[in-house]
């Protein structure tokens, strides 16, 4: 009888052991992997690859961006001030006949773009130098103005792109224009190689339209936040660098239209340029 009891117990014991052995799942996670594997899993969910774009964005935004914009805002006006003092504005005779340069529609589009773009620059700089303004609701409002003017500018940028695309295509003589810096480094009135628009204007055109498109695209995601965190970081970096380039050429455009060529502003109001100015600055214009 005792024998049978031992046999029964040992059979039950072996059966239990076999059952336990057939469930190796329970053993997973015990000793089969490195003890810190779980930390990598948590890192993946929470911090991602922060060292890649997170650290890059943090270091750029913590110092470089505001310094870059400060440099653009001080260096470029300083260079133009020196240019204005040493070389001075170009003056052309307004006695001769005038040449139609900007028809009404393109002038209208230009001024809509000018207003919205100026607002974009001002509100953008307000955010970048926000700590000087103390933050709060005025800057919150600036962000809204930035959004509304961005929507307006996007529309006008498309129009400008279509209106001026043909005249803005790069030409071989643009290289010559760049070599002599458009003749702005001398006081002499010598015809410079340029058709309706010179190489400088073309640079501004392509940066404002194509670059403006990139600004709109990245800005839209920075506004809606409908992208992965890493993409937001990349968009913010692009938006800031491209913004600095746009502000630089915006200041150049302001200087050229307001100071460097006397009476240049009037051509965008009336649409006409004096014949002498076109003969010198746009010597290859087909309507000359």
């Amino acid at each position: 009888m005792k024998k049978y009891t031992i046999l029964l117990i040992s059979t039950a014991f072996i059966a239990t052991a076999v059952a336990a052995a057939s469930t190796p799942q329970l053993m997973i996670g015990f000793g089969s992997e490195a003890p810190n594997t779980i930390w990598y899993g948590i890192n993946t969910v929470f911090t991602g690859d922060w060292q890649q774009y997170g650290a890059l964005f943090t270091s750029l935004q913590a110092g470089l961006f505001s310094r870059l914009f400060l440099l653009v805002l001080t260096l470029i006006p300083a260079v133009f001030l020196i240019h204005y003092i040493l070389i001075g504005p170009k003056r052309f005779s307004h006695d001769g006949s005038d040449i139609l340069f900007f028809p009404l529609v393109s002038r209208l589009i230009h001024w809509l773009a000018a207003i919205s773009f100026s607002l974009l620059v001002i509100t953008g700089l307000m955010v970048i130098f926000g700590r000087l303004l103390g933050g709060g609701s005025p800057l919150m409002a600036a962000r809204i103005v930035h959004l509304v003017s961005a929507l307006l500018f996007s529309g006008t940028a498309v129009c400008m792109f279509l209106i001026w695309l043909k005249d803005m295509l790069p030409m071989p003589h643009d290289i010559l224009w760049l070599f002599i810096m458009g003749g702005y480094l001398s006081k002499k009135k010598k015809p410079v190689p340029a058709a309706k628009f010179n190489a400088g204007q073309k640079m501004w055109f392509w940066l404002a339209t194509v670059g403006g498109g990139a600004m709109a695209y990245t800005g839209w995601y920075l506004y809606t936040f409908q992208a992965t965190t890493d993409m937001l970081r990349i968009y913010a970096i692009i938006h800031n660098f491209l913004g600095a380039a746009l502000v630089a050429l915006f200041l150049t455009h302001l200087y050229m239209s307001l100071f460097a060529i006397s009476g240049s502003l009037r051509s965008m109001i009336s649409g006409y340029k004096p014949r002498e100015e076109v003969e010198i600055l746009h010597s290859r214009y087909h309507r000359l």
Binding site: L26, P35, G134, G136
Partner: protein, 195 residues
């Protein structure tokens, strides 16, 4: 000066989300804003682990470095706080944060982001302590009352600890020692049976 820190013991966290609910209810957090969240890895499998994470109140915090209006600041006890009246909702802190802590409730105009909201370690904000305004903008100021944050106080398994870093670390160290996870020396897990 004590340095305030959070510590979530993943051997104890059971994904009950009590901390999340306590934080949201106790501080009247708007819908869509999560100052604290719990994630679970290997859910339903052996080796399942959960962890509760909010703002870590980092030393040399990236959010403070990138804020264009200096709205974020750090107290002497290490707690990182935001001034909601200064914040402009630009979202840079969210991009800089490794833990996804900064949250943005929808603002009033065009659905633009409002001022940033994040874990305050239940220490209120820059407004006057215990004022109605502080409570409305930031929630409770339990640190000034001498209490631990709501999430840690609520935690049923005491997985989530908050307080003076030295004390928290001591408790955790003692737990790790008592649990006896072994020497964790290379090869031991393969060569020997787990004691």
């Amino acid at each position: 000066m004590a340095r305030m820190k959070f510590l979530c013991d993943i051997e104890r966290c059971i994904d009950c989300s009590g901390c999340v609910v306590a934080c949201k209810e106790g501080n009247h957090i708007p819908v869509g804003v999560n100052r604290r969240r719990v994630i679970t890895l290997n859910q339903g499998k052996p080796g399942e682990k959960s962890i509760s994470v909010a703002c870590m109140h980092c030393a040399d915090a990236p959010c403070i470095a990138v804020c264009p209006v200096d709205a974020i600041y750090q107290r002497d006890d290490g707690i990182v706080l935001v001034s909601k009246k200064t914040c402009i909702g630009c979202g840079y802190c969210f991009m800089a944060c490794p833990f996804g802590a900064p949250q943005f409730p929808a603002g009033q105009t065009f659905g633009a982001r409002g001022a940033m909201d994040k874990c305050t370690f239940c220490a209120g904000g820059p407004e006057e302590t215990f004022s109605a305004e502080e409570r409305k903008l930031y929630g409770q100021n339990r640190i000034a009352e001498g209490k631990v944050p709501l999430c840690a106080a609520m935690c049923a398994t005491k997985a989530l600890m908050a307080g003076d870093a030295d004390v928290v670390a001591d408790v955790y160290r003692k737990r790790v020692f008592e649990r006896g996870t072994g020497a964790n020396a290379w090869g031991w897990d393969k060569a020997y049976k787990r004691e």
